[in-house]
């Protein structure tokens, strides 16, 4: 069986600024003035109100661990050689939650609620940077 490559996100006309930001190791997230809050993931209109006022702002990406799991079996063939997978949901101090992975941590040291900080993982020859997290 041929090894499956890890899926690489493909930026869209809607999300391009987010990915451009990550490639510069900056976190750009949409903000809706009428909602008075940040919005993630990128959209064309604000969720709930459909207000046409989303604008890109930079956040520092600091947050806390909302939840996680230690996947002992690969969630898909591309991760067969990447066990255990440390799948995480981080709640940004700025508000929204993001799906991510934890790095540079022993699984037994992971605690929900712990402070975490961004790790920018450049994927070679793709121009894509993934946003992962480690304990702060």
């Amino acid at each position: 069986m041929t090894k499956e490559l890890r899926p690489i996100p493909e930026p869209t006309p809607v999300s391009q600024p987010f990915w451009d930001g990550l490639s510069q190791h900056r976190i750009l997230v949409q903000y809706s003035p009428s909602l008075a809050r940040y919005v993630f993931y990128p959209r064309t209109l604000a969720p709930g109100t459909l207000a046409d006022d989303l604008e890109w702002r930079e956040i520092d990406g600091a947050g806390t661990l909302y939840t996680y799991t230690v996947a002992r079996r690969p969630t898909g063939p591309p991760w067969a050689d990447a066990l255990p997978q440390l799948l995480a949901v981080v709640q940004w101090d700025a508000g929204p939650r993001i799906s991510t992975e934890l790095v540079e941590v022993d699984p037994s040291d992971i605690r929900i609620g712990m402070h975490v900080r961004p790790v920018f993982c450049d994927l070679p020859e793709t121009g894509i940077t993934l946003l992962k997290y480690r304990p702060a």
């Binding site: 996100p9 493909e10 079996r73 949901v89 939650r97 992975e101």
Partner: protein, 400 residues
């Protein structure tokens, strides 16, 4: 409150025995649908000509126009054709849509049938498509999952459900033995239900906790076994119900709520959509939680059952684990739950897994549950659950 009047009933049921490896010859989903349709019509003892409604999740042979394709194939002209796309909540979602259509007079009798075997005839010309490990996630360009979930491996069912369970544990604590008891009690039920894939294979709490950890805190025996099967029901108006062979199972209440696609983006991950759906169902039916004689709760994982019991109002939030320990959830017990084994022990026949619970509830009210029959079973509560606890449906069924 407006809603169903309880004048549409499940009049026929069918569920194929669960098989780990198919012994039946491969059938296209069109033919699986036809077989199950024949079974529910014969079970009801009614003339197939009365059927003028049909609900489907879709057929593998046609990406589009599923109701019309089935209408033509079955030779049944339709006044109501519906496609329901709610994952594991599809079947329960079909039932209330059919009941509403019947009560409105849109149709007289409607098939709600879900093929459940992945064993399909294979073309000699084109090779079968490879296994789709994206599961319920879409890897199409522009899909939020393709961009923000799949690249991190946040895909499939095990890990996302485990993330919900971990958050639950952080907020309310976690008693692995209590959660494992759900699987154990359901296995007891499966051992009394011959169609179940794990019939004849009892387990203990130690077995569950000793099975391999899949994604913390979910053990293998807290996940479902994929099986080949299929299930369906026929829903009809009161005139047909009175002429049918079995005790009619009136649909008296329902609720449906869709909250998100991926748990990461839930407003409140710890209050699952069944809370709102169940409240609406009980109010509509004019029933209390204590009126329920048997429950069939969608059980893709034990954590789903735990949170559904709490959020549907059978026990207080965060108290489900002690509640489970204090109650006997077997068919002999004080809270009969998933009396045919549930998907954990009957097996999950793909999309038909949701219909397992509908059939389980209806079978109990019809009084046809054999060794697992709950005495004087007049009210059943049934749930469907799609995605990652993201879309859920509650049903209340009553016998006269």
């Amino acid at each position: 409150m407006t809603g169903l009047r309880g004048e549409a009933a499940i009049v026929g049921i069918a569920e194929l025995p669960a098989e780990r490896r198919p012994t039946r010859p491969p059938l296209f989903t069109l033919d699986q649908y036809a077989l199950l349709a024949k079974m529910v019509v014969e079970d009801a003892g009614v003339d197939p000509a009365c059927i003028n409604g049909l609900l489907t999740h879709g057929v593998a042979e046609s990406a589009m126009f599923a109701p019309a394709t089935l209408c033509e194939y079955l030779g049944l002209a339709l006044d109501f054709g519906e496609r329901v796309d709610l994952g594991g909540a599809t079947s329960a979602g079909m039932v209330w849509r059919a009941a509403a259509a019947v009560e409105l007079g849109v149709c007289d009798a409607a098939l709600a049938v879900v093929p459940g075997s992945a064993s399909l005839p294979q073309s000699q010309r084109s090779s079968p498509s490879g296994p789709n490990w994206y599961g319920a996630s879409s890897n199409n360009y522009g899909s939020p999952q393709a961009e923000f979930e799949i690249p991190h491996g946040n895909v499939g069912q095990n890990a996302p459900y485990a993330q919900i369970a971990q958050r639950y544990a952080a907020e309310f604590g976690y008693d692995p033995a209590a959660v494992a008891k759900i699987a154990v009690d359901q296995r007891t039920n499966a051992c009394a239900h011959p169609g179940a894939v794990f019939h004849g294979a009892p387990i203990t709490i130690d077995d569950v906790l000793g099975s391999p950890m899949i994604a913390d805190p979910i053990h293998m025996l807290e996940t479902v076994m994929r099986v080949h099967g299929g299930a369906g029901v026929l829903i009809a108006n009161a005139d047909i119900a009175r002429r049918s062979r079995h005790r009619p199972v009136w649909i008296t209440g329902f609720g449906e709520h869709i909250a998100y696609k991926t748990p990461t983006y839930a407003d409140d991950l710890m209050r699952t959509p069944i809370a709102r759906a169940a409240d609406k169902a009980f109010v509509m039916a004019g029933l209390s939680r204590s009126d329920v004689d048997a429950a069939s709760i969608y059980d893709c994982y034990t954590i789903t059952v735990l949170m559904s019991l709490e959020d549907a109002g059978f026990c207080a939030k965060g108290k489900g684990m002690s509640w489970i320990t204090e109650h006997d959830l077997t068919h002999r017990g004080d809270f009969p739950l998933n009396t045919a084994g549930g998907q954990l022990s009957f097996g999950q026949a793909g999309m038909a897994g949701g219909m397992h619970h509908v059939v389980d509830g209806a079978r109990q009210i019809m009084g046809r549950a054999g060794d697992t029959q709950v005495p004087d079973c007049n009210t059943a509560f049934v749930t469907g659950n799609g995605g990652i606890m993201s879309e859920q449906v509650a049903l209340l069924m009553r016998g006269d």
